[in-house]
């Protein structure tokens, strides 16, 4: 029962967004709440495409490039770090791990200004680098992946080592495929986080609209028209913005269920 309530409350905002995208503006703002549009207008999705131009299609491309590269790079860097921390004994290894973990305690806002100054110093403002590189390793992902990796028996790696696999081969051929559920969760969490991020792109991209990501594009809808935009079209645009996340969640759901029902490796 609790799960049903949880599921309904999670899905409700999406449902509300979807029906709003099918309504007419007056119906959205009307006093009577309707749980299904009186006259569902699917043309809103076609009109939204016109409404989006010119900034948003470019923003979608930017978001795909930025979030895609960010996620791939993050998975690679975080899993390599996690692998070393989980499976290699070296002097100071535990200390390194705790230092990484302690950075999770810092609120992001504290590191915001130093990070922006660093971007400025590197000359990365108004570039993709500023959106991709700074978050490419994060403590949360390293922690999650490390915890998963330490549950993978050492014997599995020892066997590969004994039969001629190189150290990088162990990571690439054995460890990564076995970590698919953890990688899927970490990837999805970070993809969503990066896709939805508004503050960081807003700061590091300053006013350069060509570099805007999806969230900046959606925010820009309010300014471009100079007046309150049609809410049904904003809702339709937001559906477009959410669509990649939903598709990705569906693709990775098999691994997500495995990962979230106990983030440990189980003998399969």
């Amino acid at each position: 029962m609790i799960l049903v309530i949880g599921a309904i409350s999670s899905l409700l905002p999406f449902y509300w967004l979807f029906i709003s995208s099918l309504k007419r503006p007056a119906e959205i703002l009307g006093r009577i709440t309707t749980w299904w549009p009186n006259n569902p207008n699917f043309m809103n999705f076609v009109n939204a495409l016109d409404f989006l131009r010119p900034s948003v299609p470019r923003a979608i491309v930017n978001s795909v490039i930025v979030t895609g590269s960010y996620t791939v790079l993050l998975l690679l860097c975080s899993s390599l770090t996690a692998y070393v921390l989980a499976k290699y004994m070296f002097r100071g290894g535990r200390l390194v791990f705790w230092i990484i973990i302690s950075t999770m305690m810092l609120p992001g806002i504290i590191t915001l200004i130093p990070s922006v100054m660093l971007m400025l110093w590197l000359g990365w403002l108004d570039t993709y680098w500023a959106l991709i590189i700074p978050g490419a390793v994060n403590a949360f992902s390293v922690f999650l992946l490390r915890q998963y990796m330490i549950t993978i028996p050492d014997e599995i790696l020892d066997a590969a080592r004994l039969y001629g696999c190189s150290e990088f081969g162990l990571f690439w051929r054995i460890m990564l495929p076995l970590c698919k559920p953890a990688l899927a969760s970490v990837g999805l969490i970070n993809f969503v986080w990066n896709w939805n991020d508004l503050l960081w792109p807003l700061i590091v991209l300053r006013g350069n609209q060509d570099m805007w990501t999806m969230q900046l594009g959606l925010m820009g809808l309010w300014d471009v028209r100079g007046s309150l935009p049609a809410l049904n079209l904003v809702a339709a645009c937001t559906v477009y913005a959410t669509l990649p996340l939903i598709i990705l969640s569906l693709i990775t759901s098999k691994y997500l269920i495995k990962a979230w029902t106990g983030l440990t490796y189980a003998k399969r």
């Binding site: 020892d158 066997a159 590969a160 004994l162 039969y163 076995l178």
Partner: protein
């Protein structure tokens, strides 16, 4: 094929955890040797040192004539079957088996040929397209063996290979493993804590305890002539009965609180010559105690404490004073707790150990 030699092998973990303590062992070509001992005795660490998965703190390891201390695990030409089989769950059986060949860049047609050969040898051609999750314990075991033998290794290392199988399959697989080893003629070192497994498979057994080899010999050597208290107690099921005694030379008898046992003159002479004092331990295997319903000369009266009818035999627990002795009786033997049984020790098969040094005297 090759010999394996360990010379004063020592492995210390951290500052003072001595896992393997100055072990020297010569394993002959094509020999099947078992390292037997309880958990934590250092047998798996010894095996891992031979495999190259642990580096020795001191001592030398030779495979053939080559000193391999500094040779990486993949270049030692050894294959290992792990206790959990350590199959890679994301790969099909055929990929698991051929992995060692792929890593050594063996040509594709040669890989296919050897895969076919190995699959037929281990009777598993039908399993090749499955993944490990779809295999039973016995099938997974065979895949692990296949992966180990496909490269024709010089030395075969087995780490508790039967521990993850059910009792029935274990009996079957120990014969299979022994047959396979004989057919391939590979020098094999196996680790187990199960003495029955060790005795069934090994040419020779090295009993390990606290990082040291306590005794090396054939199964019958260990059973009949244990050299110390640990081996005497570890080998044999049910374990040997031990009774603390004092040897009284005038009476030519072993005396304890509840027992006075006359012993042959030659045993007395050996005790006198070899024991550090008159304090000794009498060891009697349960199989060497015969039970009688009526008192006979030299028999000792004991109260029946419990009985376990096992079908092929019956194990009878006997109370002698405060001590419990175990005896093995024929399956037809009938008794009830509280009855008196008259027991006779087979004097030709008793063991006498020095209480102080715990070494066997007789």
């Amino acid at each position: 094929m090759v010999e394996v030699r360990l010379e004063n092998l020592t492995k210390v973990f951290g500052k003072n955890v001595v896992a393997v303590d100055n072990v020297s062992l010569h394993i002959k070509d094509k020999e099947f040797i078992v390292l037997l001992g309880p958990s934590g005795c250092g047998k798996t660490t010894t095996l891992r040192c031979i495999a190259g998965l642990e580096s020795p703190t001191s001592g030398n390891i030779y495979i053939g004539d080559r000193l391999v201390n500094d040779v990486s695990e993949k270049d030692r030409d050894v294959a290992m079957v792990f206790q959990t089989f350590a199959l890679w769950p994301h790969m099909k059986v055929k990929d698991n088996i051929t992995f060692p060949l792929k890593m050594h860049k063996v040509p594709k047609n040669e890989i296919s040929r050897r895969l076919k050969e190995t699959a037929e040898l281990l009777k598993m051609p039908h399993l090749l397209d499955r993944v490990p999750g779809q295999l039973s314990g016995g099938e997974a075991q065979r895949v692990a063996l296949g992966r180990a033998i496909i490269r024709n290794p010089k030395v075969f290392l087995l780490d508790e290979p039967l521990a993850n199988l059910d009792a029935k399959l274990r009996v079957h697989m120990r014969v299979e493993i022994r047959k396979l080893q004989e057919n391939l003629g590979v020098t094999t070192i196996c680790v187990t804590h199960d003495q029955v497994e060790a005795m069934a498979m090994a040419d020779r057994i090295a009993v390990m305890h606290q990082g040291k080899i306590r005794q090396l010999g054939t199964a019958l050597d260990l059973y009949d002539k244990p050299e110390d208290l640990f081996v005497a107690g570890f080998i044999g099921s049910p374990p040997m009965n031990f009774i603390d005694c004092t040897y009284e030379e005038e009476k030519k008898a072993l005396i304890s609180e509840t027992l006075s046992l006359e012993i042959p003159k030659n045993l007395g002479k050996e005790i006198k010559e070899n024991a550090t004092s008159s304090e000794v331990i009498l060891g009697v295997r349960p199989q060497d105690i015969s039970l009688h319903e009526k008192q006979t000369p030299n028999s000792i009266g004991a109260e029946v404490y419990a009985m376990e009818p096992l079908g092929s035999e019956a194990i009878v627990d006997l109370k002698l004073g405060e001590m419990i002795l175990k005896a093995v009786a024929p399956p037809t033997y009938r008794t009830r707790p509280g009855d008196t049984a008259w027991i006779i020790f087979d004097m030709n098969r008793i063991h006498i150990l020095d209480k102080k040094t715990e070494k066997a005297i007789v």
